[in-house]
Subunit: 349 residues, 2 copies
Amino acid sequence: MDIKIQPIKESKISQVDFNDLKFGSVFSDHMFVCDYVDGKWQNPSIVPYGPITLDPSAKIFHYGQSIFEGMKAYKDTEGNILLFRPLDNCKRLNISAKRMVIPEIPEDLFMKGLKELLKVDNAWIPTNEGSSLYIRPFMFATGEGFHASPADEYKLIICTAPSGAYFSGKVTVLIEEKYARSANGGVGFAKAGGNYAAQFYPTQLAIDKGYNQVVWTDDNTHEYIEEAGAMNVFIRINDTLITSPTSDRILDGITRKSILQLAEDNKIPFEVRKITVKEVVEAAKSGELKEMFGAGTAAVISPIAGFGYKETDYDLPEIENSYASIFKEKLLNIQYNRGEDIHNWSVKV
Amino acid sequence: MDIKIQPIKESKISQVDFNDLKFGSVFSDHMFVCDYVDGKWQNPSIVPYGPITLDPSAKIFHYGQSIFEGMKAYKDTEGNILLFRPLDNCKRLNISAKRMVIPEIPEDLFMKGLKELLKVDNAWIPTNEGSSLYIRPFMFATGEGFHASPADEYKLIICTAPSGAYFSGKVTVLIEEKYARSANGGVGFAKAGGNYAAQFYPTQLAIDKGYNQVVWTDDNTHEYIEEAGAMNVFIRINDTLITSPTSDRILDGITRKSILQLAEDNKIPFEVRKITVKEVVEAAKSGELKEMFGAGTAAVISPIAGFGYKETDYDLPEIENSYASIFKEKLLNIQYNRGEDIHNWSVKV
Ligand SMILES: Cc1ncc(COP(=O)(O)O)c(C=O)c1O
Ligand SMILES: Cc1ncc(COP(=O)(O)O)c(C=O)c1O
């Protein structure tokens, strides 16, 4: 399928201060749009970033039938545009699509649209350290009617936003004892829109207590560590790195699986197993808890400085050569095309 | 606050066949709109039903920050417009709002907007038996940005749709063994958009097997009956009516609580308690299971003709003077202002 390109009349780029980028709040000139109508994806096009017009009965407004992805584009010193494992995002988008009864998008169409968009908005990819172009593909129900059933029409849009760090400063987390992010047999493994709004209230309560994020536990016993709002969670006890197995409640993070691969490549001992809050608290008390960090595309690798649990705060030590710093360096080196990339994760556009 | 009214130039009502109304697929001439901007709800107005324009980064598209309500307006033989316990819908909208970190709407503003809208679109309220004006209030995040946090701007819209029955024909249900609708500590008790899209896939699987709806069970053991997609569930064993207690996983249905009150008023024995699938299956086998029915605004009272569980189908008997028929008649009599209304549930506009 050919992608029609309708370029913007005048770029907005001169209005943007690339030295002072927040996360996801300034948008590039163009977006990729594709419509699912009459049973097929059609009219792929790149158009100026701009408003979407929908009927008030479009199902996105009523039934939360929407999914998204989060990716980044990087630029190396030679000006090449690079993506990190982009096909994995496309595959996960389709996994989310299936669970939310949204028609899957053909991989080649998605990849072509994405790459064309990045070429058109090449100038928007930041080159300063710590910044990148955040990419937000999303799909939602445009089909109409108040019947609580899947829509017959959908839209895929890919927008991009030159972005700085997701977190500013140290990250502390609250281990959740009451609220839950997802159910067994639910949609927690999908990047479904509704999963995120469901986290706002408990996260707000945690922020009011002085934490940045909630670490979710299982909804039934609250005894097991699952993941954070937009990151998978890693725990280092002595020299062993531990992370929870994925399940239908937990997002299968691309950063997470890359870290596990890097741990294997670099002979860092790791375990993928259920981990109880009790174990973490006891390790914190005994001094065996060396590190905790979150891992995700937006947050990259975010060391956790401390956590709260049952009205008690536990600080984590600041250590040299932390696993977090090792993995972060290795990941960024691959993402910015500065280091060896034995798994060919980096993809040139 | 004054409500500005901008009337439609030419009504679409002559295009509508009121004798052949589906559910929620034809929309009245006007809608009520109110914006949350600069920390307060403002600009309440009634405008022609028509498109909404949003930025692609509006949080509704990404994080499912949306809630809704479902109500009905009825017309009695004298032409009065009637609502059924409308303040309860407004209160529940605000309960949902709080959980989804959407600013609550003042009750008087909501009620005033709703009543004005019904007066303006009075002609759209069907008078033929079995039809009514379905009312859909909904609130969603219009504020912008890719940061996964609550939006700073919102919209409340009330649309209406002259509607016929939600179900056509007999209703059969599948008791769910694998998928779940909501988590402990989650948002199941809220009318959050995402709860509904999450049900589409398991419901589709049930429809493919020949059932109309899923009856949800708890996500942990799948042993307890909770509710159906858009209805609370009642079970009659011998002469006792049983329904599950509400919880943070179950919507506190207005039809449900009205039925419980009517049962009390009419000395029909009832129990609000947890009920296991096992108990229902055994009662079906022994013949003690007399009725099952769903109760909700859209579906009114829908007798369940049979259910499936673990690859076995159980038929329910067709009985005379069923509780379902008794409650349905009493409810409709109140809603259409044809019978005694000792609790003053019916509200004249
Ligand atoms: C709930 C959740 N967990 C984990 C992650 C991390 O996944 P990834 O590394 O693929 O970005 C994300 C963000 O995408 C997320 O939303
Ligand atoms: C999940 C769910 N349960 C039950 C109901 C019934 O509630 P009500 O009787 O207030 O319409 C609804 C519909 O509103 C619903 O969406």
